[in-house]
């Protein structure tokens, strides 16, 4: 089993990766946008799952998905330096927690997203996230 690492091990140059299923973008004309809907799911209040670039590449994140092609999932990335800047500038109640799983050492949670702050946080995250290189989904 992997040990959890403290937040200070997440360097500003690191990234968090997240798979975005086609259900979220399949009817779009193009995937130019990063939409706020990418940052919420049924379990978001228990933590929104990402993969940490220290132990994962965007390709690894894609391959862990059941639908492991760009027809089924795209991969977005959040730079930790930008995320920390936003947390301070906009007073976002977000924390980063390394939460490794037996099959995924990179698994990380963003904590603090709730129903009561969902609109602001999702909007801010959508502004700093981008598709990882060569990981934009194919529509």
């Amino acid at each position: 089993m992997w040990s959890e690492e403290p937040e200070e091990n997440f360097l500003n140059s690191h990234f968090l990766y997240r798979a975005i299923h086609r259900g979220l973008w399949q009817n779009w004309e193009s995937t130019d946008r990063i939409d706020p809907i990418f940052f919420y799911n049924k379990n978001a209040e228990e933590g929104l799952s990402f993969d940490w670039s220290k132990y994962s590449s965007p390709q690894d994140t894609l391959e862990r998905r059941k639908g492991n092609s760009l027809k089924d999932n795209g991969i977005i990335q959040l730079n930790l330096g930008k995320l920390r800047t936003d947390i301070i500038q906009f007073n976002l109640p977000i924390t980063i927690e390394h939460a490794p799983l037996p099959e995924n050492q990179s698994h990380t949670l963003l904590l603090g997203i709730t129903r009561s702050n969902t609109a602001k946080i999702r909007r801010k995250l959508s502004k700093i996230a981008e598709w990882a290189e060569s990981m934009r989904p194919k529509i």
């Binding site: 259900g23 089924d72 129903r115 969902t118 609109a119």
Partner: protein, 151 residues
Amino acid sequence: MKESTETNLQEIKNLFISVKATKERRLEKLLDKRVNHILNLSENWDDNGAEKFKKETLERVSNLLKKILQELWDQMVDVPFPLISPVPDGSVDINWETDKFELLINVPAKDNLLVNLYGERMSHPEDEVEVRINYDMATQYVIPWLIKVSS
């Protein structure tokens, strides 16, 4: 002279009514398309446990958007149609992203939960809004804000 002025006023009024009717038809078409798409999403549509959408949630979204836009049109304020997007927890986003402002309204799946909205006006940080509000009160907050930031 008086008769000519009255004729011109009537023509302007007719034009206004016609433009509004066209916008209302476009809105109905947009809502039909988006609502049907969202209602047809099956359970687990995000492959991560997403919920199926309730008809009542989409009705609340449609009614809210119609009220907002019709009031704005009545006041001669023109804003583009927003994006209407399904959120995996069963709520729905109404999302404007324009050059002047951005506004995200999240309408929850349960009617006892508050509508959550966040808006920013470009280059005017003093007009930032973050509000949790009862569904029935939402238009009273959103419409004046949209009028202000659209000017």
